[in-house]
């Protein structure tokens, strides 16, 4: 799937200080009936975001006027559970380009990288610092520098380096995906089959 090339991003962030956010919360199963990749952002965190009468729940961070930005900050073990890539599509479609946590579930992380959504893994202490910084000043800005693999709290200059597989980094920076690469290996794959 084509996605935007990722270089650096400076943005405010939306905090979601909850652990084990599973993909059923990110996008409940009843919204997985589409056969195209469109409009999932409307139902991102549907049951945390809206009440039964479809009215926004005021204190949920996505509905809180104080918060905005292209960075979503979640508690540890973010994206656990179902392999549904719709969770990534929903986060991306809503407008996020980076998800920060101290720990991501494997399938979620792989799906994110395949769709141009950058998962940034920081230390638990730094994650706490990020939550604190947003709480102190919701308009505070962060910088995500993919080239140097650095996440910075611009207000204080504090930063932490994050890891990313060099191949995946190259893909994100250039908007490439694995399918072109694999289709280009057709002869090698045929040779392997013998």
């Amino acid at each position: 799937m084509a996605y935007d090339k990722f270089k650096t991003l400076t943005s405010r962030a939306v905090p979601l200080p909850v652990e084990n956010v599973d993909t059923d919360q990110i996008i409940p199963a009843r919204f997985l009936k589409a056969v195209e990749r469109k409009g999932f952002g409307d139902n991102l965190f549907r049951d945390w975001r809206y009440n039964k009468a479809n009215q926004p729940i005021e204190d949920f961070p996505l509905n809180d006027d104080r918060y905005e930005g292209k960075i979503l900050v979640g508690g540890k073990n973010f994206g656990s559970g179902s392999s549904r890539e719709h969770a990534i599509w929903a986060i991306y479609d809503y407008g996020f380009r980076v998800v920060v946590s101290s720990f991501f579930a494997d399938i979620f992380k792989g799906n994110a990288l395949n769709n141009g959504l950058l998962p940034v893994i920081v230390s638990p202490a730094f994650l706490e610092k990020i939550f604190q910084a947003i709480e102190n000043d919701p308009s505070t800005q962060f910088e995500v520098d993919l080239e140097n693999q650095k996440f910075t709290l611009l207000a204080t200059g504090e930063s932490e380096e994050f890891e990313i597989n060099p191949y995946k980094k190259h893909c994100l920076q250039n908007g490439l995906d694995d399918i072109d690469f694999l289709v280009g290996m057709k002869e090698e794959i045929e040779a392997f089959e013998k």
Binding site: E19, K33, A34, A105, Y167, M185
Partner: protein
């Protein structure tokens, strides 16, 4: 020669190429698809002008979205029907075998694969569903993938994967009365937490594991993902070989002997190294029940909900959020809590042994008056066997009715939704908020515990009625 784990042996035999400082290109032997995570992958192929590379190695069935009553009629929900029709159309167009609703081969994707003998030791198996880990019970590397990866497999029969770390979980000893492989799984997850297995692939070993039937092994491996691990596997042995023998797609004639010889070589070398090891004693495991909103929040059915006094920060707030959702309180006993629904089924516990265990328990007993019991076979073959063994009559006499195969209330994509605020004891795999319907409250348990609850209407220790 370097000592290798079972995982290493299979993985290394499937690496087409290792990308410099990147993932491996891993060849996939068997690919399963269903209606929910495949349409966008087929759309991707179309947009790139690609064909399916090896249609013979993909098998399709609609399971997530299908009704479990009146399957012979057209699916009422328009979106669900469209998704199911789309799967059929995509399969027809690309020459993929499709087991449609009502057909003999229909069922939950992780149930029909083993049933048909498509799942075999030494294979790499993927599906756009996290519970693909089920197939690891045969000594295969099996794991769930996203839709982009489904597209990769369709286009090239390969995916790109970094090699995970290796974990071994050894459970030795004899299981107590009323303790099943579901309880082993929930116990392990309660000990290592839902993120304990992340980054790893698990091998289960030990006398408590090798004594399990093939179906019980599938239940255990199925729940590997709930500990965060990509998959779990068990080395193939006589139990595995006997299960596969004679099934539709099992090797035949001279191929059978060759296959068995290879399968018998698939085990971890004695001095193989694991990145992480855990040891548990089977005697410590009781029938389990969950009290919270992730599968790691499980306790012995006779225990009390933890007080959570040692928790801090987001650990504490997450714990309390979970109990608030369940409307439970720290320190409460689980036994005796009222239950409104019982669900037997899913890729975790929707096989014939699960129905036998449940039937044996409810035989001669009656369903509690105010409990709704949903009995959903994992496949058409399971349904047929239930009827052949007369288990449906036992259910009927107990006041319970059998439904038709599908994922059903495990994820409530169809009409089988637990109403808001109601409590369900479920043999499925996830007790996440809203998993079984908006506002539904789920407690995970074994088919035995579910059967005990079905006849009492409250959380019950099945051992007291055995």
């Amino acid at each position: 020669m370097e000592a290798k784990t079972l995982f290493d042996k299979i993985w290394d035999a499937h690496v087409v190429k290792k990308v410099e400082a990147g993932p491996s290109v891993l060849y996939i032997d068997r690919h399963f698809i269903h209606e929910v995570t495949s349409p966008v992958a087929f759309l991707g192929l179309k947009n790139r002008g690609l064909k399916v590379f090896r249609p013979d190695q993909t098998t399709a069935t609609p399971d997530h979205n299908v009704p479990t009553i009146d399957q012979e009629l057209s699916i009422k929900d328009e979106l669900s029907r469209h998704q199911v029709e789309m799967l059929k159309r995509n399969c027809d167009e690309h020459g993929i075998t499709y087991h449609g609703l009502g057909s003999e081969g229909h069922g939950v994707v992780h149930i029909i694969g083993p049933e048909m003998g498509l799942t075999q030791p030494g294979m790499t198996i993927v599906c756009g569903d996290s519970h693909t880990s089920t197939h690891g019970a045969f000594g295969a590397i099996a794991f769930g993938i996203g839709t982009s990866e489904v597209e990769m497999v369709l286009a090239s029969q390969c995916i790109m994967q970094p090699k995970p770390k290796k974990m071994r979980i050894t459970v030795d000893g004899e299981l107590g009365k009323g303790v099943t492989s579901k309880d082993i799984a929930l116990y392990i997850i309660s000990q290592i937490a839902t993120s304990g297995g992340t980054g790893h692939f698990i091998e289960y070993a030990g006398s408590a594991i090798t004594s399990l039937s093939m179906e019980a092994r599938m239940t255990l491996c199925n729940l590997s993902i709930e500990s965060g691990a990509r998959g779990g596997m068990i080395a193939p042995d006589e139990t595995t070989i006997n299960y596969i023998k004679g099934r539709q797609f099992a090797p035949k004639g001279a191929d059978w002997g060759k296959a068995v010889e290879y399968w018998q070589s698939l085990k971890s070398d004695a001095d193989a190294q694991f990145d992480t090891e855990y040891h548990f004693d089977a005697a410590d495991i009781e029938p389990m029940i969950t009290y919270g909103t992730n599968p790691g929040m499980g306790i012995g059915v006779t225990h009390h909900i933890p007080l959570g006094e040692d928790l801090q920060g987001t650990d504490k707030s997450t714990f309390l959020k979970s109990l608030k959702y369940m409307d439970y309180h720290p320190g409460e006993a689980m036994k005796g809590k009222k239950v409104d629904y019982v669900f037997l089924g899913s890729c975790t516990n929707g096989r014939i042994e699960d129905f036998r265990a449940f039937a044996q328990f409810v035989k001669g007993r009656k369903k509690a008056a105010d409990v709704n019991v949903w009995l959903v076979p994992g496949s058409k073959a399971v349904e047929k066997q239930i009827v052949a063994e007369g288990l449906d009559k036992i259910f009927e006499e107990a006041g319970m009715a059998l439904r038709q195969p599908g994922c059903s209330a495990c994820l409530a994509m169809n009409d089988d939704k637990i109403p808001e605020g109601k409590y369900a004891v479920s043999t499925s795999n996830r007790n996440f908020e809203g998993r079984q319907g908006p506002g539904a409250r789920t407690m995970l348990a074994s088919p035995l515990t579910a059967a005990a609850v079905a006849v009492t209407g409250v959380i019950t220790d099945p051992r007291e009625l055995m």
